[in-house]
């Protein structure tokens, strides 16, 4: 049996643990902290105590052990009150993994006025929704979100936690993993279960995509991974699916050292590249800044978004937020059209996950053709103009 104990000789009744306890179970009595019987052994007080006066007895010295962690938890990411597609993709993947493990799939839904998002999560595969609906969660905030997620994880003890490899996901996940002292694998493109050992096999590209590595986290729980948007498949939404919405008794921090002052969502052709289904990308081969207009026109006709290689960004033809590749964004659209792009690995690292790749390049030996599904050989401007004309005919 694991139990929790306060070392009376060390405790100076500073009260840090009282504040840290998410369940209000610690009180200061006669200059020493005492722990109530509704303690869940979550360990928040242990990490909060500056004097190491609180310890779990019968537990490993490292606070994080594998005992009784079960189920898969997905962090639901919202954008403008809507659940981001990557969340549904993760739910689809989580269902597949959960089936092999024989466990339920839960989602942690943090936000303000998110009840319709909860039913969306159920339609896409969640059995349980841990809903934390509060005005303080309206905007993504690393500190507050980490505090709430930590409590949810300590309460429900999932064995696997999946998050989108988005800007926010890749900020929140490492903060959380560090707090929980567990392992985290970034930017996975493939997940599987080793059913014998009940381990999550997490595969990710490294070295600009030149190497794939499969990573496991054998000793700590939850096993955490961020997963690239656009890689996993969402299930078709099922309006008849049943799920349960639970409002966990979490405490939302009253104050934060992080304040989000302003959020600017770009409009029109500058919409979210990482979520785009179609990307038309310009390389140095388009020749001049003026030709960016043609690329934008093609993108617009296709309902896509404009991307670019690094030299195009460096030349100032478009802003850095459009850069794709190792030092830019990673995209996995359904269709990627590379216009005048040579296909250097630093670029392809950010787009090789696209479902269909079209290369337009005058050089038949350019490396981009080796990852493209379709190649058009010739002057990129002539071809882009012909494509525009062709699409306008339709």
């Amino acid at each position: 049996m694991i139990s929790i104990r306060v070392d009376q000789n060390r405790c100076v009744a500073c009260g840090q643990c009282v504040e840290a306890c998410p369940f209000g179970q610690i009180q200061l009595e006669m200059d020493v902290a005492t722990i109530g019987d509704r303690c869940t052994l979550c360990g928040s007080c242990i990490s909060a105590c500056p004097l190491e006066a609180i310890e779990l007895e019968g537990a490993q010295p490292v606070a994080n052990t594998m005992t009784d962690h079960r189920g898969i938890l997905v962090w639901a990411e919202l954008s403008g009150g809507q659940v981001k597609p990557v969340t549904f993709e993760l739910l689809g993947e989580a269902r597949r993994l959960a089936h092999q493990l024989g466990v339920p799939v839960a989602v942690a839904l943090l936000g303000a006025s998110t009840s319709s998002a909860a039913s969306d999560c159920i339609k896409y595969g969640a059995d349980l929704v841990y809903l934390v609906d509060d005005a303080r969660l309206a905007l993504y905030n690393d500190e507050i979100y980490a505090a709430v997620m930590e409590q949810i994880i300590r309460m429900y003890r999932p064995e696997i936690l999946l998050m989108g490899a988005t800007t926010y996901g890749r900020s929140l996940a490492p903060r959380l993993a560090s707090r929980l002292n567990t392992g985290l694998t970034a930017d996975c493109t493939q997940l599987a279960i080793d059913t014998e050992k009940r381990l999550l096999l997490q595969t990710r590209p490294a070295f600009g995509g030149n190497l794939m590595a499969t990573i496991t986290c054998p000793q700590r729980r939850p096993q955490m991974a961020t997963v690239r948007p656009g890689v996993m498949k969402a299930l078709p939404p099922d309006a008849d699916r049943q799920g349960q919405v639970i409002v966990p008794p979490v405490e939302i921090p009253q104050t934060s050292k992080t304040r989000v002052l302003e959020v600017i969502q770009l409009q029109g052709d500058q919409v979210d590249l990482t979520a785009a289904e179609i990307v038309v990308a310009a390389g140095k081969g388009i020749g001049s800044a003026a030709n960016m207009k043609l690329i934008a026109e093609l993108a617009q006709l296709l309902g896509g978004v404009v991307g670019a290689t690094r030299p195009v960004v460096d030349a100032g033809w478009i802003s850095y937020s459009h850069q794709i590749g190792q030092t830019g964004k990673t995209v996995s659209p359904k269709l990627y059209i590379a216009c005048g792009i040579s296909g250097a690995v630093q670029h392809t690292a950010g787009m090789s996950g696209a479902e269909t790749i079209v290369a337009i390049n005058k050089d038949p030996d350019a490396p981009i053709h080796r990852i493209a599904h379709y190649s058009l050989i010739g002057d990129v401007i002539d071809i882009v103009q012909a494509l525009i004309a062709e699409l306008k005919k339709r």
Partner: protein
């Protein structure tokens, strides 16, 4: 203002060799360089020092030869450089790296700001920054593209997000990770190089920073690389024949048959009866 910059040595080439036993990368014998993102981090720190005064310390965890890389940061204008180097640190994943860096930074004393690169281009994990901030109990912000304002109490940054930008303010001390667009790093000056010759790089072992052996190196790393493979990228692309407009019309036809183009204008869409 006391600023700490975390810098990592990365292989200059994307060719990789592996240690079959541990599944970790063999770093010896491969030409190396400063992680490009960390050069933006260092530049930003030097600029802050120039306007606000104070000192810049660079810190790295790595093999002994990383001292040369740290020398180069001194030549660029850093005041002090710390190398955490010990066999016991070897094989660290991002959690164990963050723990070791936190121990080193604890030994350095107080600080106002830590700047990391957005990610290291070998692992591309982007995890050490936020993980380190957590270990030190300070707030963090990733993907910073511009420092808008900073004083002794707070820092206001422009952060690049998936959908655009946001302005976020953090109370100091804090940690930020920076993207490439934030600045254009300077080149070392002759005077800087000469000055660096006489400046030592401080070497600290695990014991020097009071690191718990259970939390560092392979031992302290919850994640394990179980296998690695080279991805199959080679593909025979299908090529269209003819001039520009012939190729264009074949492509449009193909994309259309793959369902990658929306419904034809004026055509029936699915929800029209």
């Amino acid at each position: 203002m006391k600023i700490i910059v975390c810098v990592k040595q990365v292989p200059a080439s994307t060719q990789v060799r592996l240690n079959r036993e541990t599944g970790t990368i063999i770093r010896e014998g491969v030409a190396s360089m400063l992680n490009p993102y960390d050069s933006y981090a260092l530049e930003e720190a030097l600029r802050l020092k120039e306007t606000l005064g104070g000192e810049v310390t660079t810190i790295s965890m790595g093999i002994p030869s990383v001292a040369d890389l740290l020398k180069a940061t001194l030549a660029l204008g850093a005041d002090r450089a710390i190398l955490l180097t010990d066999r016991k640190f070897a094989g660290a994943d991002t959690l164990a790296t963050a723990y070791a860096l936190a121990k080193g930074i604890n030994r350095l004393g107080t600080f106002d700001l830590i700047i990391c690169g957005k990610q290291a281009i070998d692992g591309d994990t982007a995890q050490v920054g936020p993980s380190l901030a957590e270990k030190l109990g300070v707030p963090h912000l990733t993907n910073v593209q511009q420092i808008k304002e900073i004083d002794g109490q707070r820092i206001q940054c422009l952060r690049l997000t998936d959908a655009g930008y946001e302005t976020v303010e953090l109370q100091l001390p804090a940690l930020i990770t920076v993207v490439k667009d934030i600045n254009l790093p300077r080149l070392p000056s002759i005077a800087g190089l000469r000055r660096a010759l006489s400046q030592p790089v401080t070497l600290w072992t695990a014991a020097d920073v009071d690191a718990d052996p259970n939390h560092i190196g392979l031992q302290g790393s919850p994640t394990q690389v179980t296998s690695t493979f080279v991805p199959e990228h080679q593909r025979q692309s299908e090529r269209f024949e003819g001039d520009a407009s012939q190729q264009a019309s074949q492509l449009v036809e193909r994309l259309s048959s793959l369902g990658l183009l929306g419904p034809r204008e004026g055509g029936l869409s699915n929800d029209q009866h």
